[in-house]
Amino acid sequence: MLTHVLPAALPPRLPVSPPAAWDADEALEQLYAAHWRSLVRLAVLLVRDQGLAEDVVQDAFVAVHSRWRRLQDPDRALAYLRQAVVNGARSVLRHRSVVARHAQREAARPGPDAPGSDEPLLAGEQARTVLDALTALPRRQREVLALRHYAGLSEAEIADALGISRGSVKSHASRGAAALRSMLTHDPEDRS
């Protein structure tokens, strides 16, 4: 039912009735199918904890549902979802001090045995190291890195999503990348 030809390289993302005809409930289903996993993963990069990440993304979907009538477009909806995820992540980090809790949990962990119940799938040591390093970054740097290198947004899109200038995006991106690299090349055993 697509009315225009997609480039062959792109998978047809939404091969259903025209988005403009969707009501909010249909839009929710379609957006969920297309973006739930990637947005939860984006949120994990921001808040680290998968359960919290799912809460944040779920809230974002509720918000997009309530304003579908004004969005009426999957691309704008996705931009809105991302923005809501970033804001939601910021708000849970602020309110629940996840970073502090996680640090305590890491410190209390006796050895490389069972991971915490909320992170059964973050088993890889490399993955854990990267997520730890992200957690240690200033919030804005973490957001910019996740949006740029995971979500693949342009500088202009990130500036829009975060409400900051492109210059700020650039400087957060370069500082964040440098800090992340230096943390990751640091001795990974030195975690006490």
Binding site: H65, R67, R69, H95, L121, L145, G163, R166, G167
Partner: protein, 306 residues
Amino acid sequence: MSTDDELGRLLHDAVADVEPTDRLGELRARTATTRGTGLRWGAALAAAAVVAIVAGVVATTGPDVAREPVATGPSRTPSPTADAGRAVAAYFVGETPRGPRLYREFQRVASPTPGLSGLELLESGPVDPDYTTEWPAGSFRLDRISDPEDGTVHVWLSQGAPSPSELAMQQVVHTVSAGFGEPLTVVFHRGAEQSEPVAALPQLEVLALVNLSDPSEGQMVGDVLAVEGRASSFEANVPWRIEGTDLSGSFTAEGWTGARLFPFSGDVDVSSLDPGTYTLIVETDDPSGGAEGPGATSDSRTVVVP
């Protein structure tokens, strides 16, 4: 761009094993319109009524709508997005020595709708990390806000929204009044329930006593940092400093002996600063040095010297 690719691969790998649980059913339930409430709306109704009564007594000092520079916007320093959209005011919650108060923050919105855009900002949250919002995403039925009629606007909350606190309702009253450019009372609806009209509390009781409009959070600055805001501060003095530098001084507000905040503005020469991220702090003047009263209220912004 091999370094970029490397970072992208690291981040993708870091979450490649994250397999989210399916929460579509939960989502459907949360977005269904026919759900019961089961929340403590009664308490909020009672609070709303009290607020309305209190506010009714002092109705002459409503929100500072005359001064909302919605059309001019906060950003005088040119930036790549300076001409995109318009600045919309939203009132967020921040800690002060007098307890949580409202801070006004401007955010740029592509093509704002009066009233509605402010509510969207309340949901999407502040840019300044020192502020919070009491309205999580999904709180409002954004397809259902009325136009002002006889000084009242009707706002619908979604079924699952928690009962708002008094400060949360003040966030809405001040934000909606700024959006429509007139002092308004707000009637809150949730399903079949509705509150009494809620009016703005007096500025000096609900707003932070100093509040920056410019610069915006994370703004890039050139040699001159243009500062603008409003305050109610002793003898109209508004001390400022840039943390970690010896730059400091004082702005003078247009007044201080009234039941409202007064505008202040000034330019700070930051040409001596090395590239980096800095924090501008403005405060109310506290001649007692904290010995009397609750102490100085402050507001801050992060700025970037490229």
